[in-house]
C-alpha cells in the first residue's frame, strides 16, 4: 500500500510538471501568434479561363513540381454565384510560396460575366488576405483569367491597401476579346483601357501569346493578345510580351506547354533555373 501511495504521488508530480509548463507555453504561443501574424508568405494566385474549373492548372502544377526541389502546397477555391467560397486542399505550415487557384462556379465567357468574375475574385482575395495575412503575391491568369486579373488590379486591389502584387503573368489573354483587328476596339478592351491608370505602378507584367500559325493559337487571336500593350505600357514598371510557337501551342495546351512552364519558373516564380533554360527563355524573348 505504501508503495502505491508513492507511485500516485510521483504520477501527480509528473502530471503537474507537464501541465503547468504546457499551459504557460500555450498562453505565450497565443500571444506571439497575435502579434506576429503571417507575413513571409507570398502566394502565387492563379485564375483559369472561361469554362475551366479549379482543377484547370493541375497539369501545370505537376509539371512545375517535377523539376523544382521545393514542393508547393495547393489550395483551390471556387466562388459560388452567391459570393460564397468553397475551399479545398490546404496550405502547408512552412510553405512560403503556396499555389492558390481561384475559380468561379459561373465561369462563362462574355464581358458581363468577366466583370462579375473580377468582383468575385476580389471577394475571394479579401477572404484569403484575412485568413492568411499575406502582404505580397504573384498572379497568373490563363485566357480570360488574365482579363479578370487585369480588371481586379485596376479596380479592386486598392481595397486591400496593405497587399502588393509583385508580378503578373497572363497566358493568351485576349485583351481585345475575339477581335482579330488591329484597330477596332471591343467594349471589353475599352473598359480595361479606361481603368488602366489604376494599375499598381510597381508591377512587373508578362503577357505570353501562343501561336499555332501567324494569326492565333486556334482560339485567341494574336492581335487580341497584342492589345495588352495599350493597357500596360507606360502604366507599370515593366511590361514584356513573349510569343511561344512550336509544339503544344493550341490555346488550351498553353498552361502546360514545356516552354511556358519554364517561363513561369524563371519569371513568375523567380526560381533559380538552370542556365540552359535561361538561355532558351532568352531566345524566346528575342523572337
Amino acid at each position: 500500500m505504501k508503495r502505491n501511495w508513492w507511485r500516485w504521488c510521483l504520477g501527480l508530480i509528473v502530471l503537474i510538471g507537464v501541465c503547468w509548463p504546457a499551459y504557460t507555453w500555450s498562453k505565450a504561443n497565443i500571444k506571439s501568434l497575435k502579434t506576429a501574424g503571417r507575413t513571409r508568405m507570398a502566394p502565387v494566385i492563379m485564375v483559369p479561363g472561361s469554362s475551366a474549373s479549379q482543377n484547370r492548372f493541375d497539369d501545370l502544377i505537376t509539371e512545375l513540381g517535377k523539376e523544382t526541389p521545393q514542393q508547393h502546397s495547393v489550395l483551390k477555391l471556387t466562388v459560388q454565384t452567391n459570393g460564397k467560397i468553397k475551399y479545398s486542399g490546404n496550405i502547408g505550415r512552412n510553405d512560403n510560396q503556396p499555389f492558390i487557384i481561384v475559380a468561379f462556379a459561373n465561369n462563362k465567357d462574355g464581358k458581363a460575366n468577366i466583370d462579375q468574375q473580377a468582383v468575385w475574385l476580389n471577394d475571394a482575395f479579401k477572404d484569403l488576405v484575412k485568413t492568411y495575412k499575406f502582404n505580397h503575391f504573384r498572379a497568373l491568369g490563363h485566357s480570360n483569367g488574365g482579363l479578370i486579373w487585369t480588371l481586379f488590379l485596376e479596380r479592386y486591389l486598392k481595397q486591400s491597401p496593405k497587399v502588393h502584387i509583385d508580378r503578373l503573368m497572363t497566358i493568351a489573354a485576349p485583351f481585345n476579346m475575339e477581335s482579330t483587328s488591329t484597330t477596332a476596339k471591343t467594349s471589353m478592351f475599352n473598359e480595361l483601357y479606361e481603368y488602366r491608370t489604376g494599375l499598381p505602378n510597381g508591377l512587373t507584367a508578362y503577357s505570353i501569346a501562343g501561336t499555332e500559325n501567324y494569326t492565333s493559337d486556334g482560339t485567341v487571336p494574336y492581335n487580341s493578345v497584342n492589345f495588352g500593350k495599350y493597357i500596360f505600357q507606360d502604366e507599370i514598371k515593366h511590361f514584356t510580351e513573349i510569343t511561344v510557337t512550336g509544339a503544344n501551342t493550341a490555346h488550351s495546351d498553353l498552361p502546360q506547354n514545356k516552354q511556358i512552364v519554364s517561363l513561369i519558373r524563371q519569371y513568375l516564380l523567380d526560381e533559380n533555373v538552370p542556365s540552359k533554360l535561361r538561355k532558351q527563355n532568352q531566345q524566346q524573348l528575342k523572337n
Binding site: V18, A22, W25, L33, E67, T131
Partner: protein, 436 residues
Amino acid sequence: MIKQIANQLLKWEAWLNQRRYFHALRDTLTLLFPFVLIGAFINIFNQAIFHKNGFLAQIYHLSSWFPGFKSLMTYTTMLSATVNGVIAVVAAFTAANFAARALKRDNLLAGLTAAVSFCLLNFNYAAFTKQGQGASSQFLEQNLGSQGIFLALLVGLITGWLFNHLTFKPHSHQLIETRRHLLNRAQENWLPMTVTLVVFSLLSYGISFVSKNGLNGLFYSAFRSPFVNPGSVFLNIVSVTLLSNFFWVIGIIGPIDFSGNSSVSTVQNLEYALQHGSAWGAPNPITLHTVFDSFANVGGPGMTLALIIAILWRSHNADFRTVAKASWLPSLFNFNQPLLVGLPIMFSPILAIPFLLAPMASLLITWGALKLSFMPPVVYPVERTMPGFLVGWLGTGGDWRALLVSLINLAVATAIYLPFILLENRSMEGGRTDEA
C-alpha cells in the same frame, strides 16, 4: 443475447486463428512487436522531444537550452528513417517465413524472396526519367515504412503460398549446414523463387504505367479519396473516421492520420480567435480537426490510451499486460503502433470492434458538447505529439470544460473497451483448458 454474440465472436476468433495464413499473419505481427516498440520510442525522441514542433520541446523550450539539440535532431531522424523506414520489408520477410513454415517449406528462402519481391514492387520508375536522375532514390522509400505494412503482409503471404504449392517435398532442417545441403535448397526452390520474382516484377512494371508511386501509392490514393474534403457535416466526419480507423485495423496505416492545423477552416478559426481574443463563436466549430484530431485521437487512432487503461485495470492476460506496460509511454504521445502489432489489434475481431466504436462515442460526445455550446472549439495550434487528453484544454486556450470533455471521452472509451477485455479474459481461460 449479448452472451450469444460474445460466444460467437470468440468462436469466430478461434476459427480464424486456426486458418494457416491468418495464423502466420498474427505471428508476423507479434514478431514485429519489438521493432515497432523501439520505433515508437525513437518517434518519441524524434518527434516529441528533438523536434522544433515537438510537444516536450515546445513546453520546455528545449531547443534554446538543451546542449546539442540540433545534432540530436539529426541523429534521431536518422534512427527513425531507418528503423521505422524499412519495417515493411521486415514484415514481408517475416510473413513469408511463417507462411512457408506452416507446411515445412524452406522458410528462410521464402522470406528472403518475399523481401526482395516487396522491394521490386516499390521501385521508383521516375529514376529513369530525365528529371528524376540523381534527384531521387531508386526506391519509393515512403512505401517501405509502416505505410507499406498491408502490402508487405500480402506479398509475404502470397510468396509463402507459392512456396507451399510449388515445392514438392518438405524442407529438411539441418543443424549444421553443409555446402551440399545449401545447394540442394537452391535446387529444390528455384521454381517458386523464380515464379515469385517474375510475378511481382511484372506486376510492378505494369503498375508503373498507371501509378507513379507503385501499388502502394495506388492503394493510398484509392483509400484517401473519401477523405479529401469531409467538410463540416457531422455524419461525413463520422464515416470518414470510421473508415480510416478500419483501415488501421487491416494494416493500412494513416490515410488520415492527423489532419492537422493547416486546413482552411482551421486557419479561419485561428484568425477569428486571435482577433476576438476567444475561441467562442469561431466560424467553423465542427471540422475533422476540432472533433476528430482533438478529441477522438487520445493515445492515437482508436482512443488506444483507453485500451491501455482497460488492460492494466482488468485484464488477466499476461501477454496483454506486458504489451500494455511497454506501450503506454508512446501512447501518451499518440504513437499506438506497438499496440496495433503487439496485442495485436490488427486483424483481431474482438479488439477491432471497440477500436472502431470508441472514437465514435468520443465524436458524438464532442459534437454534443460543441452543439450545446458547452465548450468552445479547438482553435489554437496543437501538435501531433501533444498528449491526447490535453489537446482540448490547450487547443481552446486553457478552457477547463474542454479538459472535462476530454476526460469524459477517455472514461467512456475505457468503458467501451472493458467488456471486450473481459471477454478476452474468458477466451484465454478457455484456451488454456483446450491446451491442457
